[in-house]
Amino acid sequence: MSPITKSSAAPAAVAYDPTWKTILECASIEVFEMMVGVRPQLNSASTSEPSGEQTAMVGMAGALCGMTALRCAKATASRFAALMLGEAAAADPSSSGDALGELCNMVAGNFKSKISTLADHCMLSVPTVITGDSYSMDTSSPTECVTVPLLFEGQPLWVSLIIHT
């Protein structure tokens, strides 16, 4: 019988840590600054719930189960696409969703890479993008939800980490 190796064992669950909000802020700002070329500002005064017609989501599984979500107005997502791909490529109607999905993927990846217990032990799904704002999202409890409100060129966007604890 072969011995059970570390790589074949399921990763131990990592408990939510309140410092993750700061890490999520850093991870998000870094992704936008590097990939979009504009540094978003923390919108600490915001008390609004996330809103907007485009939501990108990336599932997380392994040492941490949950998802990362990025939500903003369609016009804001289009602006991201234009800055990331150029105006011509961004004219493609699917580009804003694709760009938002990729940004969400990078935020999730950058977040987990900053936490050593997650980096090699948490897998990410491919991004899913919802277009439209008339929906509600229910997750099985218990969960922790951390939301980082940001301002990008004066427009709001929200990065959320929803964790099944």
Binding site: E30, M35, D98, M106, G109, K112, S113, K114
Partner: protein, 128 residues
């Protein structure tokens, strides 16, 4: 400055466009940019020959980046063509595996055009 023919392998079309744009923003001259959405398509593109560099994602359906990288060892047209792996997840284990399998470097998303240029310059001595 040398003009480059590159292959970009990534299952996300938006990411392929971002990498191409980053290469152009970095001031690199591209004669041709080939695209593939997985390793199997990438192998077919490699057969066209004349590539100066390959960028490949690690996580892809059908044939992932590591399998693609290992398969390149048996392709004459890929001999001497440097491969840069692209990863989102910050997984050190996969990066180490890629480097052991012959990748000449890696880019971790997010990245800037300057970082892309640095990798290319280090490998090909262009764009400096």
């Amino acid at each position: 400055m040398k003009k480059l023919k590159v292959l970009i392998v990534d299952d996300a079309s938006v990411m392929r466009k971002i990498i191409e744009r980053a290469l152009r923003q970095a001031g690199l001259e591209l004669t041709e940019v080939l695209e593939a959405s997985n390793g199997a398509e990438g192998l077919a593109q490699v057969q066209t020959g004349g590539l100066d560099m390959i960028f490949s994602d690690i996580n892809m359906p059908v044939m992932d980046g590591l399998e693609f990288l290992k398969s390149l060892a048996g392709v004459d047209a890929a001999k001497g063509v440097p491969v840069i792996m692209i990863t989102t997840e910050g997984s050190e284990a996969r990066v180490v595996e890629a480097l052991s399998a012959g990748a000449k470097g890696y880019l971790r998303k997010p990245f800037t055009p300057e970082q892309v240029k640095e990798r290319v310059a280090a490998l090909l001595g262009v764009g400096q």
